[in-house]
Symmetry: C2
Subunit: 179 residues, 2 copies
C-alpha cells in the first residue's frame, strides 16, 4: 500500500495557525455562506486516518459542534493516559516518536494519513516524514501567535502541484515533497 | 497624486527572505531559462521610487550585476552618511522614521513606492503604511533565516487581488490592505 502523510491546514499571511491568545476566529474572517468545499471533504474521503497532537485534541474536546472526522483519529501524547468515554470509539492514544507511531498506525491498516497540529507537523517535517503540503492562506497578518512551521536542521524542497483560490480570498497551494 | 506603498518580495514556504546564513541561492532554485516576467519589470514601470533599508543596500553594494532599478532609490539609514561615488546619481540617503521619510519622498514628487527589505517592510507594516503586498512563494522550507514578517501590535486584514503561478512553481499573490 502507498504510504502518504498529508498536511492540510490554514495559516495567516504571516504563517500563524492561531493568534497570540490562541484565537481561531480569523480563520472564519472570509464568509462562506454557501459552504463552498475548500478541500476538507475530499481529504476525508482520501485518507485512512487522522494523526494529531495533544493540543489539537484538547481543542476538539472543547468543541461543541459535530465530530468533524469520518476516519479513525490517532492522538499523539506521552502524557495523556485515557480519552473521555464519548470519544472512545473514535480516538486512539499513541505515544512515542513519529517513526514509532507511524509503524503502529500502518500496522493497523492505515496508510494515507492526515497529519494535523503545529507541533506534530513540525516534528514530522524535521524527520522529513511529510509527503504533501496543502496550505490555505487567509488574507490577514496576525503579527504573532502559534507558527505553522518551526526550525529545521535541513531545508526541504517541494514541487508545486496546484493552486486554487476559494471565495475570491483563500489561496490554497498543494505541494509534493521533492526527494 | 495617489500615494501607494507596495511590497514585492519572494519568500520561502516558511516565510523567510534569506536563509540561516543569509543565503539567497534558493531564490533561484526554480530555473527560469527564458526569463519569464514575474512582475519586477511592470513594477518598475509602475512606481516612482524604491525605498529600502541599509541591509538591502549593503547587499546591492556587493552585487556584481547591472544596477537593477530604473527609478530613484531611497536608502533608509540612521548610521550611513555617504554612498559610494558610483551610486551617487542613483541613491539618496534618508534618516528618520517611516512617516518622516515618506514626507520627504512625497515632497520630491515620488508617490508610488516599492518598499523593500525585511526590516523596512516590518517597520512600515507596524505603522500600517503598506497598501499592497505582492508575495511570491518559492517551494522550499528553509527551516530558519531572516523572516519576511515580524511582530505587529495589531492584526491587519487584506483583500486578495489575484494569484498567478509562474514557471509551474512560483505562487505569486497580490493583496490590498482592507481599511
Amino acid at each position: 500500500m502507498e504510504k502518504k502523510n498529508i498536511v492540510f491546514i490554514a495559516k495567516s499571511l504571516d504563517g500563524y495557525i492561531a493568534g497570540k491568545n490562541g484565537e481561531l476566529d480569523w480563520l472564519f474572517s472570509v464568509p462562506n455562506p454557501d459552504n463552498v468545499e475548500t478541500g476538507f471533504g475530499p481529504l476525508m474521503d482520501e485518507i485512512d486516518a487522522v494523526v494529531m497532537g495533544k493540543n489539537t485534541f484538547d481543542f476538539l474536546l472543547g468543541y461543541e459542534g459535530d465530530w468533524p472526522y469520518a476516519k479513525p483519529v490517532f492522538v499523539l501524547s506521552n502524557s495523556l493516559k485515557t480519552v473521555p468515554e464519548r470519544f472512545a470509539d473514535k480516538v486512539s492514544l499513541l505515544s512515542g516518536n513519529p517513526p514509532e507511531v507511524l509503524k503502529t498506525i500502518h500496522a493497523r491498516g492505515c496508510y494515507k494519513l492526515y497529519i494535523d497540529g503545529g507541533r506534530t507537523i513540525q516534528s514530522f517535517l524535521e524527520l522529513d516524514l511529510i509527503d504533501e503540503l496543502r496550505i490555505t492562506t487567509i488574507p490577514i497578518l496576525l503579527g504573532g501567535g502559534a507558527p505553522l512551521f518551526g526550525d529545521l536542521s535541513a531545508a526541504l524542497m517541494f514541487e508545486h502541484v496546484k493552486t486554487e483560490v476559494f471565495l475570491g480570498a483563500l489561496v490554497q497551494s498543494w505541494y509534493r515533497r521533492k526527494r
